[in-house]
Symmetry: C2
Subunit: 226 residues, 2 copies
DNA sequence: ACCATTAAGTTAATGGTGTTAACATCGATT
DNA sequence: AATCGATGTTAACACCATTAACTTAATGGT
């Protein structure tokens, strides 16, 4: 229904099916959740045969992976744009965090697909381009946090980055539980709460540094990773 | 495979199918992810016919919902047990948070099912008992955080609870991205990172209070505050 | 002791799904 | 102009959730 009917109204070749699939799939998952996306319905909605999508994506999984990769690129771009006009590192962090939360709010299902689906963790043929774009995203995030940290050693920065990311990430996800959230909010407005979270995010690099120093007895008492 | 073969080795009635289904399903989802759980395979693995499970669960969804509800009860019990011997509110929070993270580590797929699947948010016939047990869980969580807060008004407590929960929740989920995490960790051990996160969790109630006061300059600057 | 009821299994069928093989069409290259 | 590869189609296959209709066995009232 995109721009297909424009041409001859019955062209044998769609002309732009790959993009049309991604775009239609994206609309569809926001409507009904990514778990219930049906390849057949998708094809039908574009007026194309059941098997046509498989000329462009080997799998349903790979279509979803492409969607997720597109989401990562988009999120990175949005964050970059938001941070562009920030004067100092603190403002950069703040704007970046806002962009992250805004993305999760605008496209919750895409966000879930990117971060909590089994695409990145399960199944043998993991889409390598998806993995690389996800890594790239995290790299940029660490750079932003680094600007915020007083101590720039790798340990501190990585700890701070993952802590702040955890906070934003968890908040974004909890906010999606439509029925749960009103119960949790009480008299609090969503905006106020977001401010609270963001203020903690800005403060935390210091706490993290203190935390790491406080708790460690021996230089590196243990090397194991649970 | 439970205690079925004990009796007569070919009893027409299984005797304990409901529990057996839940138990087998739980094992299975931790092995292959909850999205790919198959009712047929499940039935087959218990030596029972394809339709048998539907005598105990109306749906695949409702089986998963029962699994999730069981998870909530278990998590709540584990947290309660962990917090039982804590002398003060700070220790309570710490122990509760550790129990939460430990649960997510021990049963990652069940955790995903409980918190980021579409069970609680999507679809018309939402399992009401699941919703209520989830609410109950959150209520207990708020009580723990309340003990940690200097200011006990509802606004502050709810903000603190959701902030701390966000942090733990996000960390638990990020830690599941098997391939992502080594990349994020760098020279940091997982245990050290957990300590950092936990220390922020303990500190944050104060930050949150400050955050809320600082940032608000709207019309009704304070509504229920002496 | 009988029998009706019912919970808990069974088999068989329905309809939907991802996916693939074999064939068809068309735009582009030679 | 003939060909060839990319893109689309049709017709299958295998899997899966779910349901209808039937069977078995245990239970409880008389």
């Amino acid at each position: 229904m995109r721009r297909k009917t424009k041409r001859v109204a019955r062209a044998y070749h769609h002309g732009d099916l790959r993009d049309a699939l991604l775009s239609a799939a994206r609309d569809e998952i926001e409507r009904s959740g990514y778990e219930s996306l049906s390849m057949r319905d998708l094809a039908a909605s574009l007026g194309v045969s059941e098997a046509a999508p498989y000329r462009h994506f080997t799998d349903r999984r790979s279509l979803l992976a492409a969607l997720a990769a597109q989401g990562f690129r988009e999120l990175e771009a949005a964050a970059r744009r938001a941070m562009a006009k920030a004067p100092d590192p603190v403002a950069r962090m703040d704007q970046g965090a806002r962009a992250y939360l805004a993305f999760a709010t605008r496209s919750p299902e895409l966000f879930r697909l990117m971060f909590v689906s089994d695409l990145l963790t399960r199944a043998a043929p993991r889409d390598s381009s998806l993995v690389s774009v996800a890594h790239q995203f995290h790299h940029q995030f660490e750079a932003v946090v680094s600007g915020l940290c007083s101590r720039k050693d790798e340990r501190s920065v990585k700890a701070a980055a993952l802590t702040i990311w955890s906070l934003l990430h968890g908040f974004a996800l909890l906010r999606m539980g439509h029925r749960l959230i009103p119960f949790m909010l009480g008299p609090l407005s969503g905006a106020d709460l977001a401010e609270a979270v963001l203020s903690v995010a800005s403060d935390s690099p210091n706490s993290i540094g203190r935390g790491l120093d406080h708790r460690r007895r021996g230089p590196r008492a243990r090397k194991k990773q649970p």
